[in-house]
Amino acid sequence: MRERLVVIGNGMAAGRLVEELLERAPDRYDIVIFGAEPRVNYNRIMLSPVLAGEKRFEDIVVHDEDWYARNGVTLRRGERVVAIDRTAREVTTDSGVRASYDELVIATGSEPVVIPVPGNDLPGVVTFRDLDDVEAMLAAAAIGSRAVVIGGGLLGLEAAAGLAANGMRTSLVHLMPTLMERQLDEQAGILLRQAVESRGIVVHTGANTRAIAGNTRVTGVELDDGRTLEADLVVMAAGIRPNTRLAGGAGIRVDRGVIVDDYLRTSDPHISAIGECVQHRGKCYGLVGPIYDMAASLATRLADGSGVPFRAGDQSTKLKVTGIDLYSAGEFAPAEGRQDIVVNDPARRTYRRVVLDGSRLAGVVLYGDTRDSGWYLDLLKRGTDVAALRETLIFGRSLGDARAEPAA
């Protein structure tokens, strides 16, 4: 009899895990996936193009019905697991369905942070997490009204661009002085802001939201400085938080996220966790690269017990706003031993920054021209010693490997 594998969650981590596992050990497990969303597995990071009207939902589906049938994987969609009985090795869903497991994987992802201000539960306040959110936004846009997006990070910018593309008069409210300040410095932030503003989006930086205005429905966003921005739709895009409720409730060790070891094991040896819900060596991950790495690591262990320890590799991200090419990977925060190399071309609106940690690449930001992203990511993942390339590294693969000629 085959072992029973139960996966809680059907997001990107879960989808990739099952795929990798089937490749390695197609016959080892009977696999059951519980997904809270009533749909098949889709590429969540492509929701922005769906919002912008550049893609349809069908375009971003990863595993369609057929795939589950072909691979003998049971998908129980629209069923939310509400409890784990670790002694009985059994999970229970909100509809009362129970399922036994030999191995359990928690892949419950994260949930959007809803900032704690008055009015944050008014109708018309949405987050940007799943297809339902996208549909809510599109519905609001169809009426042709005003939108305020709170949060000037990747998600907020994509939401704002998508809403503007749908004809909404859109404002973006950001707490910090610079958009995407975790990735960009001031100069790049200015370039990005100009590009965002050129799409008709009004950007308010250094703006703290005091309250969401409205009685029965949202009518605006009140700022600390006393201004009120009128709004029929408010999108909260102020960050994400690992979803640990289920694991915590089952007595599994959690902190900010579900704590796992290098092999993605939780405090219960029969329960693993991957994805945005996880906390590994003190860090939580929100980018798809390390999450795929987790899926691969766990799949090897579940396949034959060997396991490859998880190491976060690809930590790159790309802003998916058509016409704005922005790519970042790695670490950018100032730290001891970190050094910046910056190319800035205000006239042509391109910018690139590489961050070195000693003789290795720690991070890279490309704005306006992201063609070299793969090359940098490779150097980053391999931990290549780039000391000898220092003077030319910033120019990318095609320009960065000059054979030099000493003084005339």
Partner: protein, 898 residues
């Protein structure tokens, strides 16, 4: 364009005197090619000659006369010159005025300048920059032969079995002669063999079967040893010596002490190498000794010349095919200047100031009111006299003494204090024109019209083929204008260069009857039309004979121009160079030319092609010295002594002897922040010739440690006055710069904005690359979308691909320019080696790595070396350095490797 439209003229540069054909197209375009019919070069040209058309630009030209920096008419300017010279002469006598002229003047210009000074002003204070390059040869020739005669002809270089190159980097300084020798060696299975005597290894050494890297200034010892060895080997032509020479015994006694061992020790050579050279010379009858500035520019220059001539005289290897001593001059008309008597110790037409009969001939011929009886001031003394106020008015024509004379800072000081300085030049701004009270625009090459004489006594027409730029006029015209205004109208009434030439030719024949070597009286009656169509001829051309009919060589009959018609074999006791190494100045400083520049770069400096070979002042230093001083290859060094200092790029090379350094002569304040090497050169003179010892001064070397280095490109010439170190060169459509600073840069953007003269808005729009920790900064500046400049800075010497950048300004995307590399990674071609086909060192190395085993194969693969051929020695060097340990095929039976 019809080939027949081409005008035959001669090259503007060295003393080889190559024939050039210039075709003028519509719109002023000029095409230059070697003249296949000219016997100096038979169609060959070197890089500089091939790039002559690129120098025909209006940039930097002096377009109008100026008085006190203000435009003036010619008549105002000439009035003032005549008045001030007349007044000065009236108040202080004729010795208080002087002309300092140039081997770049045409014979006709030279003739009238000499005639005015010596025949009408009555002073011998006319000297020429030829004093700096070949006056030792003049004096040596006169001591030995009784006349300033180069006995041989260029063919001798091809028919000889041995060529001894002494103090001559022929490959770079006289490339066409070098190519003729190289070609002969190919055709004659390695003959002539070549011995190269030079303290440093040069491009010329690449062809040499034996290179003797002698201690600087010890040539006399080497040739005394040769003279002794000739005696020991019983190779003296006793019959010839007895019948046609005098002084042989005394001269040989001086040589007695110079055993091979003594020579080897003093010259810093191995005994084996010295023996090989002596054996070869003794064994090889058909031997030519070619010598140049390394011999002449010495406080013992005349003795060096005679030490060489002695060896040819005692062996009777002179005046016969394939043998003889051969002085090669550095300027296009140094020889013409010698012929007209344009040196302070000559009179005219090979006649002497201290000879009453000669004075009578000249005075009567010129109808001159007064002739000086004593020699005038030679170049270095002339500027000393300006400095101490004895000379109060000077007219400088076609030369740049503030850069080219020794002790150049003192020369600058002298001119700054001189009451009246007139400068005739083709450029408005050089380091000398800055001190002129009156500036006179001279016609440049391609505009002026007259004759020149090359190193083998061949007189050729240099013809104008384009209209003068601005109000530029011929120098003879300006001289005659001043002469007329000084009251000598009757004697300076010439219709053009033809009438001056006829007078010069006639004078050479007066009272001659074979007594004087220089006689071109055969040309005294040629018509203006004949002058226009005159073919090159070699002197002598005596009256009544057709041109080119006399024997090619002098002295074949053993008759010399001395009183007793015997050649003098002169005693030449060895003397050390006058400057001695000291603790404060422990290096011997040698100076010289580079391949693609000429003199002070006023002409070659405008041609982008010529700036690609070497574009910055440099100092060569031996690896051991460099290590001891902490000098890094490509770092900056300061070379200094009590007289002055320069800052230059260090080139650490095995080709340099320990304790010796070399710096090029070309860089001026127009091209570098501190590159005037003559500021360091001691004004030590040969006691007979007055030629300065330009190749053996002493100096110290210090490694400099700039805070930053930078390379920059700019459309326009920026103001660099606030930059500590800079050197600039032309590129197509702009300039390139090497920069360095000794203080930390406060704001690179501000510096770039200043450099490229940007507005605030353009400054803020610059494309920049900044690596604060690594110490790198780069920027590309644009105005209205067009790139105007690029700057590459680093804490260490820059390693950007300069050759590519220079070609890329305005031709590639700004980002590729910033990266210093083309998108798509086209390989960097490297520093330019072949200027004709723009082939770089990397390309050639790649070809060698790809299997090319000789220069010909490299040529087939890359086209390098297939144009003028000047770069072949450098290709040879790359072949030798190739990692495959490839050694070029020995060009001769490998006697040097026995």
């Amino acid at each position: 364009m019809n080939k027949r439209d081409a005008i035959a003229t001669t090259c503007a540069y060295c003393g080889v005197g190559c024939g050039v054909r210039a075709e003028c197209g519509s719109g002023g375009a000029v095409r230059i090619e070697g003249d296949r019919d000219h016997p100096a070069n038979f169609g060959r040209l070197c890089v500089k000659g091939a790039a002559l058309a690129e120098t025909l630009v209006a940039d930097e030209r002096l377009l109008h006369p100026q008085i006190g920096g203000v435009r003036a008419s010619w008549s105002m300017a000439l009035d003032l010159v005549a008045r001030r010279f007349s007044e000065t002469i009236a108040m202080h006598g004729p010795e208080s005025v002087a002309f300092y002229v140039s081997g770049q003047l045409l014979t006709e210009d030279y003739y009238v300048a000499n005639k005015l000074m010596k025949g009408f002003i009555g002073s011998a204070n006319i000297d020429t920059n030829s004093r700096l390059c070949m006056s030792a040869s003049v004096a040596g020739h006169k001591r030995a032969f009784g006349a300033d005669v180069v006995p041989g002809v260029y063919e001798d270089l091809e028919t000889a079995d041995l060529i001894v190159l002494v103090g001559s980097n022929l490959a770079w300084c006289h490339p066409v002669l070098f190519q003729r020798i190289a070609k002969a060696r190919e055709a004659r299975n390695g003959l002539p063999r070549v011995v190269n005597i030079d303290p440093r290894r040069t491009a010329t050494s690449e062809i040499a079967d034996l290179h003797l890297a002698i201690e600087p200034g010890t040539d006399v010892a080497l040739f005394l040893g040769l003279l002794r060895e000739i005696g020991v080997a019983a190779a003296i032509d006793v019959g010839f010596v007895g019948a046609h020479t005098e002084g042989a015994e005394r001269a040989q006694r001086v040589a007695d002490d110079w055993t091979i061992q003594a020579v080897a020790r003093r010259c810093g050579l191995s005994r084996e190498d010295v023996s090989r050279f002596y054996d070869l010379f003794v064994r090889t009858e058909k031997a030519v000794t070619v010598y140049s500035q390394g011999v002449n520019q010495s406080s013992a220059g005349v003795d060096k010349v005679n030490a060489i001539l002695n060896c040819h005289l005692v062996t009777n290897r002179i005046g016969r095919p394939g043998m003889g001593p051969f002085s090669v001059t550095g300027q296009p008309n140094a020889m013409g200047g010698r012929e007209v008597g344009g040196l302070a110790n000559q009179l005219a037409a090979h006649m002497e100031l201290d000879n009453p009969a000669h004075r009578a001939i000249v005075q009567s011929f010129w109808s001159s009111p007064r002739l000086p009886t004593a020699p005038g001031l030679k170049a270095v003394d002339l500027f000393r006299a300006i400095g101490d106020g004895r000379v109060k008015a000077v007219w400088i024509m076609g030369t740049n003494p503030v850069d080219s004379l020794p002790d150049a800072d003192a020369v600058r000081g002298a001119l700054a204090n001189c009451p009246f300085v007139v400068v005739s030049d083709v450029v408005e701004k050089n380091d000398t024109t800055a001190y002129a009270h009156v500036l006179l625009p001279a016609q440049a090459w391609g505009e002026k019209d007259g004759t020149v004489t090359n190193s083998e006594r061949r007189v050729s027409r240099q013809r104008g083929f384009r209209g003068a730029i601005g109000e530029a006029m011929p120098d003879w015209w300006a001289v005659c204008g001043v002469a007329r205004r000084m009251g000598f109208a009757k004697s300076f009434d010439y219709g053009g260069p033809a009438s001056i030439f006829r007078e010069h030719a006639a004078l050479s024949g007066v009272g001659n009857h074979g007594a004087r070597a220089f006689d071109i009286s055969g040309a005294a009656r040629i018509s203006d039309l004949d002058y226009q169509s005159m073919r090159p001829f070699r002197w002598p051309w005596r009256c009544g004979e057709p041109a080119n009919e006399t024997p090619k060589r002098f002295f074949a009959n053993g008759t010399y121009f001395t009183a007793n018609e015997r050649a003098r074999i002169v005693e030449t006791p060895f003397r050390e160079p006058m400057s001695k190494r000291t603790i404060a100045a422990p290096f011997i400083l040698n100076t010289g030319r580079v391949r693609d520049q000429w003199h002070t770069m006023t002409r070659t400096g405008v041609a982008p092609r010529l700036a690609q070979h070497i574009c910055e002042p440099f100092v060569e230093i031996a690896p051991r010295d460099a290590e001891q001083l902490g000098v890094e290859d490509d770092g900056l060094v300061r070379i200094s002594n009590a007289r002055g200092a320069i800052v230059a790029r260090a080139r650490v090379t095995e080709g340099q002897r320990d304790g010796s350094i070399f710096a090029p002569i070309h860089w001026t304040d127009q091209f570098a922040s501190a590159g005037r090497v003559d500021a360091l050169v001691a004004p030590h003179l040969d006691p007979i010739a007055g030629q300065p010892e330009s190749k053996a001064s002493v100096a110290r070397v210090e490694a400099l440690r700039p805070d930053w280095f930078a390379f920059a490109l700019s459309r326009v010439k920026p103001d660099l006055s606030s930059t500590d170190y800079w050197a600039l060169a032309r590129i197509a459509g702009g300039f390139r710069f090497e920069l360095a600073g000794f203080a930390a840069m406060r704001d690179w953007r501000d510096y770039a904005a200043e450099l490229f003269a940007l507005t605030r808005a353009d400054r803020d729009l610059m494309l920049t690359m900044e690596d604060r920790h690594g110490g790198f900064f780069r920027c590309v500046a644009s105005v209205n979308g067009a790139v105007v400049g690029a700057l590459y800075a680093s804490r260490k010497p820059l390693t950007v691909s300069r050759a590519w950048l220079c070609s890329a300004l305005g031709a590639v995307e700004p980002m590729a320019l910033l990266a210093g590399r083309p998108a798509g990674a086209k390989a960097e071609s490297g520093a330019q080696i072949c200027a004709c086909h723009s082939v770089g060192a990397h390309t050639i190395r790649d070809a060698v790595a790809g299997g090319c085993r000789d220069v010909r194969a490299v040529g087939v693969a890359t086209a390098a070396g297939t144009g003028c051929g000047s770069c072949r020695p450098e290709i040879e060097r790359i072949l030798r350095q190739a990692p495959t340990q490839y050694t070029p095929r020995p060009a001769a039976p490998a006697f040097a490797r026995q």
